[in-house]
Amino acid sequence: MDKILRIDMGAEGGPKMTEEPLGAYAGFGGRAMTSAVVSKEVPPLCHPLGAENKLVIAPGLLSGTIASMSGRLSVGCKSPLTGGIKESNAGGQAAQVLARLGYAAIILEGKPHGDDLYKIFINAEGVKITVDNSLKMLPNYDLVDKMKQQHGEKITCLSIGPAGEMKMGAASIAVTDMELRPTRHAGRGGVGAVMGAKGVKVIVLDDTGMKMRPPKDPEKFKEANKNWVEGLKKHPVTGQGLPAYGTNVLTNVLNEAGGYPTYNFKQGRFDGASRISGETQAETETARGGSATHGCHRGCIIQCSGTYNDKDGHFLTKQPEYETVWSHGGQCGNADLDSIAEMDFIEDNYGLDTIEMGVALGVAMEGGLLEFGDAQGAIKMLHEVGKGTPLGRILGNGAAFTGKAFGVERVPVVKGQAMPAYDPRAVQGIGVTYATSTMGADHTAGYAVATNILSVGGKVDPLKPEGQVELSRNLQIATAAIDATGMCLFIAFAVLDQPETFQALLDLLNAFYGLSLDADGVVTLGKTILKMERDFNIGAGFTAEHDRLPRFFKTEKFPPHNVVFEVTDEDLDKVYNW
């Protein structure tokens, strides 16, 4: 992983590729790499779909090694949805394969002069870029089938569906999983639209003949990975809860807490929650011959995914995640798990962010387009998006765009990006992260519950309400650092409770690179990433006014607890003071 592949899609005579050493980007991986390149090379005021924007695809620092859970991929650019910097993160096979092929990043830049659509094929022998207009408007599943016919079964694909080709704000980049299905997505922020603007339909990776990346100290690395795996397996969340029920295990808990946004953020409880819960989902999957325990990439031991079959036992989609089930469930007043699974498939196939689309549908329901609970109507709307009808293009450009089109006041977005499945009035601390994240409303921006282990920013008394701003800041710093490693964020739960597991993560990094990184070094890395991102956003015109939740969170009481968001603007403005 010692080189960067640049492809200038706008070069005279067609796309031109160059390979270069890491140079100033040495030591960066994942989100650190994508945000470093975007902040250094992309003019903040450029149009996100223009030639000046760049799409950066980077595996994490530990991707391509035997380190368990190291298969996360970062995709960065200026976001067409938020107008700010974006790092969108995905599982699947691509990070491992790309790293084994030796690439620390692929950077797509420029803009093609015509409307040709390109396929990029990368294997041990090199890179081949070809025009293939037969791929135009193919949904992801059909596209991957075609790639299998052309290149065999040992490939990994990064692709866009019709939504990306139509440059929609909710367009994702699909990444194939172990079964070569396009089920994993860099979903947030419209990164698929940027890939579409570069004229690239699919990047096919084949690492045949490539080996695992060798660590500097193999023995120490092997020992660290053993401790790492043991730590993850013995923890109740990573060893039991997530494997058994997946992330959707949160539905019942959030609903009971009164923090489950329902009917477009009107209330915190949904009557149908138990019918779409992770427990019910797992039971349904098992009863239909699917699986409730499955990994999204090789080397995953948490196995929070699964296989969701239809009533006849045929594959319908991968196990929908909590946010997907919520956005098409409670957010839309829909308690039918099968319809949620069908919408998950449709969105994977068209290449759409499931959070953005579910929230957009809920906003449209509030605007009168459909009745809440009309699952079949929602499915029809998603096909409008896939076809690119005028209505579909409104929905496919996300919740904020849809809210404007339908004259809706209650539009749950920050910096133009739809809010995930936790209401910030019930859990105010996450509201701080939604408001101030460089990414727009994003639950994963402050996800790494490891701040106590890192002691980042000093010791905070967790039982004092004023600690919320400080905790959010520290969570964002820790998350940015973990996003650089290629590690799945779910590792944070074991790290939270088990200092020895955090040490194992440090040992992995140190043994691989021959470093002596400690907790302070991790904090420094997180701060460096956030500063680059923050500076880019300031350059793009973001001010303190953009670090706010929509007004209704402060004025509308949220049942059943009847609370409003109480963190003051002055406190929100302190998040980046360090």
Binding site: A244, V249, L254, E256, A257, I430, V563
Partner: protein, 202 residues
């Protein structure tokens, strides 16, 4: 939901289900089953003495507790009253999952909805009805035992369960002495009307 003990139904719906299909009835413990127990005590005492859970089981398996929808941090300062709802869960993923954990490092992030300390003298010790919900691994560990003991559910929850889980006719059930027709059951005018239930795994 407030339930008068004297209004509890006498006739029992007995459901006979084979072991492979019993998990679909765990839906009932997610929705909430009503138990008649001694109330007016601390939550810790209720878990130990009324639900008969061991301290070790509580410590190892129940990291997230809601009393009337509010996350609980201190088992000794939260009190169980007649008509309350108690939900028990394992440790949960995600920042918000960590936030909901009792006494957890991130509890301050949900300070506005946390369960505050109760006045221990506010409710008398007496028999009462408590709605109990078991989620995730707790449902897996405790659901079977509690479903095989007598419990009550609202007729609305029973109707919802039948509509969505569609128990088939070969799962025999009897209301008192009479065979129970799954398809014919309707909640009636009062959704809060209770049904006494016991599951028998055959």
């Amino acid at each position: 939901m407030s339930v008068k003990i004297e209004s509890l139904p006498a006739a029992e719906l007995q459901i006979l289900v084979d072991a492979p299909r019993y998990p679909q009835f765990l839906q009932l413990v997610q929705q909430g089953i009503i138990l008649r127990r001694q109330v007016g005590c601390s939550l810790r005492s209720f878990l130990l003495d009324q639900l008969r859970l061991s301290p070790q089981f509580i410590e190892e398996n129940i990291q997230t507790i809601f009393l009337d929808g509010k996350p609980v941090d201190d088992l000794d300062r939260a009190h169980v009253k007649d008509g309350c709802t108690l939900a028990l869960s394992a440790a949960m993923p995600g920042l918000v999952g960590a936030t909901m954990r009792r006494g957890g490092f991130y509890a301050s992030l949900r300070a506005q909805i946390s369960h505050g300390p109760d006045d221990p003298n506010a409710s008398a010790t007496a028999q009462g009805c408590v709605t109990i919900k078991f989620f995730n691994n707790v449902a897996h560990l405790l659901g079977k035992a509690f479903l095989q003991d007598t419990f009550f559910i609202t007729s609305k929850n029973l109707e919802d369960f039948i509509r969505w889980s569609r128990p088939t006719d070969d799962i025999k059930a009897f209301l008192g002495e009479k065979p129970f027709d799954w398809k014919a059951f309707r909640a009636g005018n009062s959704n809060d009307e209770l049904v006494r239930v016991r599951l028998k795994i055959v």
